[in-house]
Symmetry: C2
Subunit: 299 residues, 2 copies
């Protein structure tokens, strides 16, 4: 089954202590779409400007990503620039140029409206709502978010959470949203807001799934070197939704394995700048790390 | 097989946002010894003053801890006082009164010198050396430490690490010791310092074992409420060494399970002030959480 993915499609200029990489392909939807493409056909919804490099369109196409929903508009592509500290955990934004993203209205081609698996990757909750409003009856809707929307669009976000099957957020966002320090009362409050499934991402410490069947502790694949963690969270949810759509039924056991696959794709993402780590990967390499994770956690 | 444990034996006054608890039984050796006692006989090496409550001696005895190596000297018991913030992660020391600990020289009764499993719980590396110097040929020596010794006794600590089979430290200490941000180069440097096995503790994010057979990612048991995390790390290493001594052969597979048991005992430790959480536990309750951890991590 295919996955419909909406989110940002951007050019990322990323600086680390070791190197500087201007105008890489980035954005939550780009990372999520490529990650999902290893497991299922992907339909991408996004917007780019006329300056968007043709090579990046080719990259999407190599991953067989359906681009009917990608708008190419007069103006500049959304451009983000950020700098990481030596530990690769702390980063600061140097520049944000919204470009064509400022007036983006995601419009679904008719052929997309029946999609069963929907990933509302990180963008403004109002746009996530707008996509969902155009869908017929999707089977499984997941959304990711970021602290920005908790700060400036909380009301929209809370309304969105109500409409989701799965809400994905990181630990500090969960704390910000619920004012709870401990994960269990935080999860309880988020479930009460609507979603049957909640995933809390903890970066290199892995993630936690909370479902009606209880908790799943999902490890992160341990990396010898992190080159660029930008997009790791997006790759995680993208890989997960791609795997889930292929498994068809979004049950607890499939979600657990889907998270493992998402975690592995995210690990590859961290090993290269932008999407370079993810795009050079093959399915057998993914399967190898999944087997390794089985061994790494066995007791 | 029994475990010989040396470390601090103290009175802890612990303040949290919810309550204040003066003069609880504490210290690295107390926590580790009680934790280990669920699995193996324990021989405790430590020192207390004349003010040490008889009830705490009884508590050790209820756990069948051999107290031949516990010195009771004229003067005051080591007293530590600390305060936790609301998130229970950040704490600050309010007071440290060394008392009889200031001049403590751990002396091993003859019956203790042949112990096969030795845990040098957190105390000054010079004292950890002193204990090891009195031992005949122990089969497996593990040591824990804290940032204080990295700051004021690094040379002693480095010499100690060379003598260990297993060195246990937390992630920030590993960073401080090796100047490496990533766990793999950090582990490589620590192995080069001597120990075949290294465990890096990550608090509520679990721990990592590095052995000749590779990495093991050990989860923390997820807790609904953390009452007092004091001694959780000591309970982890204590429970682990107790389990390992019972398993007799310190091989990779036993170490992995030993870490799981240590992790579970540490979880009970966090559920009460001082040793209250740990002492009220039964072996079947420990087994129950071990089974739960198996389910919580299955994919």
């Amino acid at each position: 089954m295919s996955v419909l993915i909406v989110g940002s499609t951007a050019l990322d200029s990323i600086k680390t202590p070791k190197s500087e990489n201007p105008r890489l392909l980035g954005g939550s939807a780009s990372h999520a779409a490529v990650a999902a493409s290893f497991f299922s056909p992907v339909k991408l919804i996004g917007v780019v400007g006329e300056d968007f490099p043709k090579g990046y369109i080719q990259l999407y196409k190599r991953h067989k990503i359906d681009l009917e929903g990608l708008q190419i508009l007069p103006g500049k592509t959304f451009h983000w620039s950020g700098e990481y500290e030596a530990n690769m955990n702390n980063r600061r934004t140097l520049l944000t140029e919204l470009g064509v993203f400022e007036t983006f209205t995601p419009t679904l081609p008719n052929s997309h409206k029946n999609s069963q698996f929907v990933l509302l990757a990180n963008i403004a909750p109002s746009l996530q709502h707008h996509v969902l409003n155009q869908m017929k009856r999707p089977k499984f809707v997941a959304a990711d978010t970021m602290d920005l929307w908790l700060n400036i669009a909380l009301e929209d976000l809370v309304k969105l959470i109500k409409r989701l099957n799965l809400f994905v957020l990181n630990d500090s966002e969960a704390h910000q949203l619920t004012k709870e320090d401990n994960i269990f009362p935080a999860l309880k409050k988020i479930h009460k807001m609507g979603p049957k499934y909640v995933i809390i991402k903890k970066g290199s410490h892995g993630s936690i799934l909370s479902s009606p069947k209880g908790i799943f502790i999902c490890p992160a694949y341990p990396l010898h070197e992190v080159v660029d963690p930008t997009g790791a969270g997006d790759s995680f949810v993208g890989g997960m939704m791609g795997y889930l759509a292929a498994a068809k039924r979004p049950v607890d056991a499939h979600l657990r394995r889907a998270m493992i696959y998402g975690s592995v794709v995210a690990s590859f993402c961290c090993e290269g700048f932008g999407l370079m780590g993810t795009t050079r990967v093959t399915r057998p390499q993914i399967e190898k790390r999944v087997s390794e994770l089985e061994k790494l956690t066995k007791f």
